[in-house]
């Protein structure tokens, strides 16, 4: 029997549904998305392109821009890695062990999501500046954190801290006790059980958290500028360069750096996601 489809697929791209309101809700979200996000971002690309290839290249290859990009991306990756290690550890401790104040600490992990970045920034500066709470203790030892790239790293660790914890926690919590019990009954040592039963499902989730922490850290501004010292070529981050260009009314230059940042971070996030996909397949996830 042949099936004619007259009424049903009224438009090819949308399934007809009895639930109303598609037109108006889709209209609102697309309009808002275009006005608030997409058109402004298009203006950014347009402005950057208006600079012309020669100027773009000159800017992109200038030592100061390169230094800032290297610092922003390098510190973000390093901070995300620190958060990967400690995030998995903290998630493990919060899921598996009982200790006083656990619920309170669990809630506190989200503080970096809730605390305004400027507040974090001045607090970190007050801690790690050479005359700060910890900085003054380290200064006699010749260790400087505030106003150096290490300060940038501290700020980026702070703002990225919750991501890995929050992606790994549910995976650990939902893991079936039977899996570990089966491994133990089959004679595996505790470490072998951890390695072969717990790590495979946790790793992809931890990677997801890593990517999120990295994406957040790359563009971070508020918490960094107070503690970085902002020395060109040393502790100056890429978003700050954009602000400086804007203050000099060099719109095109600011736009070029902005587009460079976006393109670089999308390439890195894409690569990390591909790696994570490969990891999932390797570890037998669907």
């Amino acid at each position: 029997m042949s099936i004619a489809s007259p009424a049903n697929h009224g438009s090819a791209w949308r399934e007809r549904s009895i639930v109303p309101g598609f037109g108006i809700s889709f209209g609102i979200i697309v309009t808002a998305l275009s006005l608030i996000v997409l058109i402004p971002l298009a203006a950014l690309v347009l402005k950057a392109a208006s600079a012309g290839p020669a100027d773009i290249w000159a800017l992109a290859s200038s030592p100061r821009v390169l230094g800032a990009l290297r610092l922003s991306f390098g510190a973000a990756l390093l901070a995300a890695f620190v958060n990967l290690v400690f995030g998995v550890l903290i998630a493990w401790v919060l899921v598996r062990y009982e200790f006083p104040g656990k619920r309170f600490i669990d809630a506190a992990v989200d503080l970096p999501f809730a605390l305004p970045t400027a507040v974090a920034g001045i607090a970190l500066a007050a801690i790690y500046a050479p005359n700060g709470w910890i900085g003054s203790l380290l200064a006699p030892l010749g260790i400087k954190i505030g106003y150096t790239p290490a300060g940038v790293l501290m700020a980026l660790i702070f703002i990225g801290l919750p991501f890995v914890v929050r992606t790994v926690q549910p995976v650990l919590a939902e893991m079936e006790a039977e899996l570990e019990e089966a491994a133990a009954l089959l004679g595996a040592s505790r470490w072998r059980t951890v390695w072969s039963v717990i790590v495979p499902p946790v790793l992809p989730a931890a990677m997801t958290g890593f990517v999120l922490a990295f994406a957040r850290a790359v563009g971070e501004y508020g918490s960094v500028i107070f503690i970085a010292g902002n020395v060109p070529m040393v502790s100056e981050i890429a978003p700050l360069l954009i602000v400086i260009r804007l203050e000099q009314f060099d719109y095109a230059g600011a736009a070029v750096i902005g587009v460079l940042m976006l393109v670089l971070s999308f390439i890195i996030i894409l690569a990390l996601n591909l790696f994570q996909g490969a990891l999932r397949r390797r570890l037998g996830h669907v």
Partner: protein, 348 residues
């Protein structure tokens, strides 16, 4: 008799999957009809099409002669009991049941005293008096199901639709609710269509059973008619346990290995065929007089009866034979089998 719900050639396609391939069915007022089939047979799709929750790709569904496409959901007046019940969790039992009445446009809405009275009557009907103030989360599964039913009945539906009404309940509750629903239907007389994958449920409850398989209607009829006279091999094997014997039909006899095992005089099947025999229609006989003989390999208890598994030479599957009052054969004993009743279908 008049037709309340007329389904003509209903078809529905999901991407490349044809969920319904042209199903026609007429339902009369007051009938209790079961849509029976395995999962993926299209029964829920058909129910949702009747309800107006999904759209036909072909064919037509009409209510009292009016095309469903011309009716809004409100005008269709369908009382639907969802498989998950879809009770509004933030509303009490009372407000759930009253929802459809309060949702009417002002000029059609009954006064609130009248709504209260109808809700009370309905809750009494489904035996939930006293639970008006509860929230769905405070009810058992069976109670939730009855709230969903009362809510659907409140709008005085033209047709009551039930999607796997007993699916989410445990075995004991299912049995109780089944009898209760049958009783309720005979008292209220609502035209009812329900979906189930459970043959016993369909056969016990329904006035007529429509069997769906791979998007097609295989057979529709009273429980007795479809059970005793299955139209297709699928219906025969879906409605109960069967043994399948590959036979050759020649001269009014079905032959297995040159032995005439069943008189096939009333059929027009000729040549290779499949003979479907239910375990209760195989009777033990003396091996020397029976054309069908084999060795008993197992005897097991099967609920109220015992069942023997008999290996027949030339057949890869053992035959299931129900043993009633007679003395059970012992393991390894050679027995003959007599086929009392069977269904013959040309080999696929």
């Amino acid at each position: 008799m008049s037709v309340l719900l007329q389904i003509d050639n209903a078809a529905r396609q999901f991407g490349s999957f044809a969920a319904l391939k042209g199903v026609s069915l007429a339902i009369e007022p007051g009938e209790l009809v079961a849509l029976l089939g395995p999962s993926g047979s299209g029964k829920t799709t058909l129910l949702r099409l009747i309800a107006g929750l999904d759209f036909l790709d072909g064919g037509r569904i009409a209510f009292d002669g009016v095309d469903g496409n011309a009716l809004s959901l409100r005008d269709r007046r369908i009382g639907m009991v969802f498989q998950s019940y879809a009770l509004f969790r933030h509303l009490t039992v009372r407000d759930n049941v009253a929802f459809g009445l309060r949702a009417r446009p002002r000029q059609e809405r009954p006064p609130s005293a009248e709504i209260d009275r109808r809700v009370r009557d309905l809750l009494a009907l489904v035996q939930l008096d006293g639970l008006e103030g509860r929230f769905p989360s405070e009810l058992s599964g069976g109670q939730r199901q009855r709230v969903a039913l009362a809510r659907a009945l409140a709008i005085e539906p033209r047709v009551l639709l039930l999607d796997e009404p007993f699916g989410a309940l445990d075995a004991k509750v299912r049995k109780d609710l089944r009898a209760w629903l049958r009783d309720l239907h005979s008292r209220t007389g609502h035209t009812t269509v329900f979906v189930t994958h459970d043959q016993d449920e369909a056969l016990e409850l329904a006035d007529r059973v429509a069997i769906l398989h791979q998007g097609r209607l295989e057979q529709v009829g009273t429980p007795d008619a479809i059970y005793d006279h299955p139209a297709t091999p699928f219906v025969c094997s879906f409605l109960g346990e069967t043994n399948r014997l590959p036979v050759e039909v020649q001269g009014g006899q079905a032959w297995l290995d040159d032995q005439p095992v069943y008189a096939a005089s009333t059929t027009n099947v000729i040549g290779p065929a499949d003979l479907y025999v239910r375990p209760q229609h195989l009777k033990l006989d003396r091996p020397d007089v029976s054309p069908l003989a084999g060795v008993v390999e197992f005897v097991r208890r099967h609920g109220a009866i015992r069942r023997a598994e008999v290996a027949i030479r030339g057949l890869s599957k053992r035959l299931d034979v129900d043993i009633g009052g007679e003395i059970a054969p012992s393991h390894g004993e050679r027995v003959g089998l007599r086929i009392q009743k069977a269904h013959l279908f040309a080999a696929a």
